[in-house]
């Protein structure tokens, strides 16, 4: 394969601090049985990429635990395979990890060692199902310096996007901005970037030497504005879910209960892989009432659940009513408990009869392992 993949594992950690106290962004549970990193990682595997590094900065225990069974992604290889790049400090360069250039500085040895003409960069907080070979082909055909995958906005956005571009019919960027809102018709980046490996190594060396750390602002934007860099836009026209804060995390997680979104992300010809837990199939009790939910293996559902994402091994007791909730792995909702707009992190216990009600824009969040 002619691409090496690099996944940045914690771009929005701070905005999701309710879930990132003891795990990093990429290890946040999503869709009942996945963690965010599964999506870019599976996309890479499905695109034939066998050389993948995941850059980690802090709290990467969960991430390492999750990725340690690299065979689940078919990345237990003699040549290439999966590598986690934890931070390290050496004599001339002490890590601060302020931006992607810092991360890539840490990955320099890996990049120099890689034997591919191109490098693919991906973020763990943007969810989609995409064959990166199409992006690479578009990059090669365009002859541009870099290619960024993006979707076209149909309406103005409140939440700023990391990359906002304008482009004509030829899909060459005519403007490039970082961390800003997008107008209708603008292209918003998906965190997917392809460029030549040699060029990237040179950029990382030059720019980190001058104290720069932000790949898109300090390098791409600066060079583009000076007319020294051509940007090809790969126009992706399917479902993309950005997870930049807790509200988006919850809304996008719950959006998987819509069949059209689920079928766009979970395709039989390009499956999303994750770590296997060997749980038994879910059991639905005599009087349960479940609709508009996604439910993973190992659950015992005896109460009622509407519009929820329920992870592996969750128990919902008799008479409990759970609405618009995300219940993570191994948590227990006691008999007769009533939960609305609640996110229950892993291994928590909601005692019988408890009532917890949040609102769509301010959910109740129960910490990992807590007992209510």
């Amino acid at each position: 394969m002619n691409m090496t993949g690099i996944i940045f594992s914690e771009m929005c950690n701070d905005n999701l601090n309710a879930f990132t106290l003891d795990r990093n962004m990429a290890a946040i549970p999503f869709g009942g049985r996945y963690r965010l990193v599964d999506f870019p990682l599976s996309n890479m595997v499905n695109s034939g990429i066998t050389n993948v590094a995941v850059v980690a900065k802090q709290h990467y225990h969960s991430l390492m635990d999750h990725l340690s069974k690299s065979q689940e992604w078919d990345l237990n290889r003699k040549n290439g395979g999966l590598l986690i790049l934890p931070p390290f400090v050496n004599g001339s360069f002490s890590q601060t990890h302020r931006g992607k250039l810092d991360d890539l500085r840490n990955a320099l040895i890996y990049l120099e060692d890689a034997d591919t003409p191109y490098v693919l960069l991906a973020d763990a907080h943007v969810i989609y199902n995409l064959d990166y070979r199409l992006v690479l082909q578009s990059h090669i055909d365009s002859g541009c310096d870099i290619t960024l995958a993006a979707t076209c906005q149909t309406e103005a956005t409140q939440e700023p996007y990391g990359i906002v571009m304008e482009a004509g019919d030829d899909l060459r960027a005519t403007s490039f901005a970082v961390d800003t809102q997008a107008a209708p018709g603008a292209y918003t980046g998906m965190g997917v970037c392809i460029m030549s490996r040699e060029k990237l190594i040179q950029v990382v060396r030059d720019y980190t030497a001058r104290g720069s750390y932000d790949l898109y602002r300090d390098f791409v934007q600066a060079q583009f504005n000076q007319g020294n860099l051509s940007i090809n836009v790969y126009h992706f026209q399917d479902v993309v879910l950005h997870i930049r804060n807790a509200e988006e995390y919850i809304a996008n997680n719950l959006s998987l209960t819509q069949p059209e979104i689920a079928s766009a992300l979970f395709r039989t010809d390009a499956p999303i892989y994750t770590r296997v837990h060997d749980e038994v199939p879910a059991y639905y009790g005599m009087d349960c009432d479940v609709s508009g939910c996604i439910i993973a293996d190992g659950c015992i559902i005896e109460g009622s659940a509407q519009h929820c994402v329920i992870s592996r091994g969750v128990r919902i007791g008799k008479g409990a009513v759970v609405k618009d909730c995300i219940i993570m792995q191994g948590s227990v909702v006691g008999e007769g408990a009533v939960l609305e707009h609640v996110v229950v992190d892993k291994w928590a216990t909601i005692s019988a009869g408890t009532e917890l009600k949040g609102a769509p824009n301010s959910p109740v969040i129960i910490r990992k392992g807590a007992t209510v």
């Binding site: 869709g31 049985r33 992300l265 038994v280 199939p281 005599m286 479940v290 508009g292 996604i294 293996d297």
Partner: protein, 386 residues
């Protein structure tokens, strides 16, 4: 040594193109997962899997043994089909002959004891406890036994024992059973002794080369130390369509007789990457076991749905076992049935009847073989096999 070459002819269409141990079971498993997981959970790290009948699917399923933690540098899972030799080329003639032909495999690992299992029973058992019993009794052969109803005893290998659990008599499928202690098809042998008997059995031209019919009787005839190890957990031979359906339905028992949820004794299986199950608005699911990757829009009750099934709006599935990747389309009814892997039930089909709907005619479970497409409007009667 796991005997997985059986045809399972009484499962009819379900074993047309696949060996019985590879038949799907319990939502996400195949029958062989139970004995394989038992091995691993008992601390056995070297397992020979003897295949013969339709091995393609089984070989593929076992692969390098990784899902069961049997991808080892030393030992691990080995699929052992019959092979040609310089002097005689033959299939596995019987259970004992299958082990006899694999003496070189066993000798590579120089074991003190060998566990002989069959890959077509549903049960969870810690063989290390049975081995402990074998050692304590100073046994050369230990057979696991389970108490059965007298009417079932005529179909099984029946053991009589003294007060010390020593086997005094063994009869294969007796017309008039002397006891209700039936062999589970789980044997532990002291390897040096078994090897000698296998060689003698092979030399006997009148032998059927079968453990139950020949080897065990020879042990008893010679006064070898043979003991019965009583097992009181759940055990089911899923050799018939009825017992396969029953064993699936047992999973819905709230008392969990099979102890499926024991985190220290999991049943492992090869997992395919399928997303969590989606229960669409308007779906109604009750008293059912549903694996991952399903999409349910209709009604499912008292059923076991395997990985990747679809039940469309208006469709109703009850009392049914629906194997992986089968689609039940709009307004179809599947009642009291086993539907094989990868079937398409087109819209408006009726399979089987609810017990309360049946008239005078014969009633029982309907069975659809793997990969069948049932055209719109078809009616499949109870007990019909397609």
């Amino acid at each position: 040594m796991l005997l997985a070459g059986g045809q399972g002819s009484r499962l009819y269409v379900l074993t047309e193109n696949t060996a019985k141990p590879a038949v799907p079971f319990g939502g996400k498993y195949r029958i062989i997962d139970f004995s394989l997981s038992n091995c691993v959970n008992s601390g056995i790290d070297t397992v020979g899997i003897l295949t013969q009948y339709q091995p393609l699917e089984l070989n593929d399923y076992i692969g390098n043994g990784q899902p069961w933690d049997l991808n080892r540098n030393f030992g691990g899972a080995h699929v052992l089909p019959p092979y040609t030799k310089t002097s005689n080329n033959e299939w596995y003639k019987g259970t004992a002959n299958a082990i006899y032909q694999n003496i070189p495999f066993i000798e590579r690992y120089q074991p003190e004891y060998v566990v002989i299992l069959s890959g077509d029973h549903i049960y969870k058992m810690d063989y290390s406890k049975m081995l402990q019993f074998h050692k304590e009794k100073g046994a050369e052969c230990t057979i696991a036994v389970i108490t059965v109803d007298p009417e079932d005893a005529t179909r099984m290998g029946i053991m009589s024992t003294d007060e010390n659990n020593a086997i005094t008599d063994f009869e294969e499928k007796p017309a008039h059973p002397k006891s209700n202690q039936a062999s589970m098809g789980v044997y532990i042998f002291t390897w040096e002794v078994l090897k000698q008997y296998l060689i003698e059995d092979e030399a006997d031209p009148n032998s059927e080369n079968d453990f139950g019919k020949n080897v065990i009787p020879a042990f008893l005839r010679d006064g070898r130390r043979a003991f019965a190890y009583p097992f009181d957990g759940y055990w089911k031979d899923v050799g018939t369509l009825g017992s396969l359906w029953d064993a699936n339905m047992d999973l819905l028992d709230p008392n969990d007789p099979l102890d499926m949820r024991n985190p220290r004794f999991k049943v492992y299986s090869r997992n395919y990457a399928s997303p969590s199950t989606l229960l669409a608005p308007g779906s109604k699911v009750s008293n059912s076991f549903v694996a991952e990757g399903c999409r349910i829009e209709g009604t499912v009750e008292n059923s076991v749905l395997y990985t990747g099934c679809v039940v469309e709006a208006g469709a109703s599935v009850s009392g049914a076992v629906v194997m992986p990747n089968t689609v039940v389309k709009r307004d179809s009814k599947v009642h009291y049935a086993i539907v094989g892997e990868g079937c398409t039930i087109e819209s408006g089909v009726t399979i089987g009847l609810r017990p309360e709907e049946r008239g005078e005619e014969a009633w029982g479970i309907s069975v659809i073989g793997h990969g069948k497409t049932i055209p719109t409007g078809t009616v499949i009667k109870p007990k019909e096999i397609v």
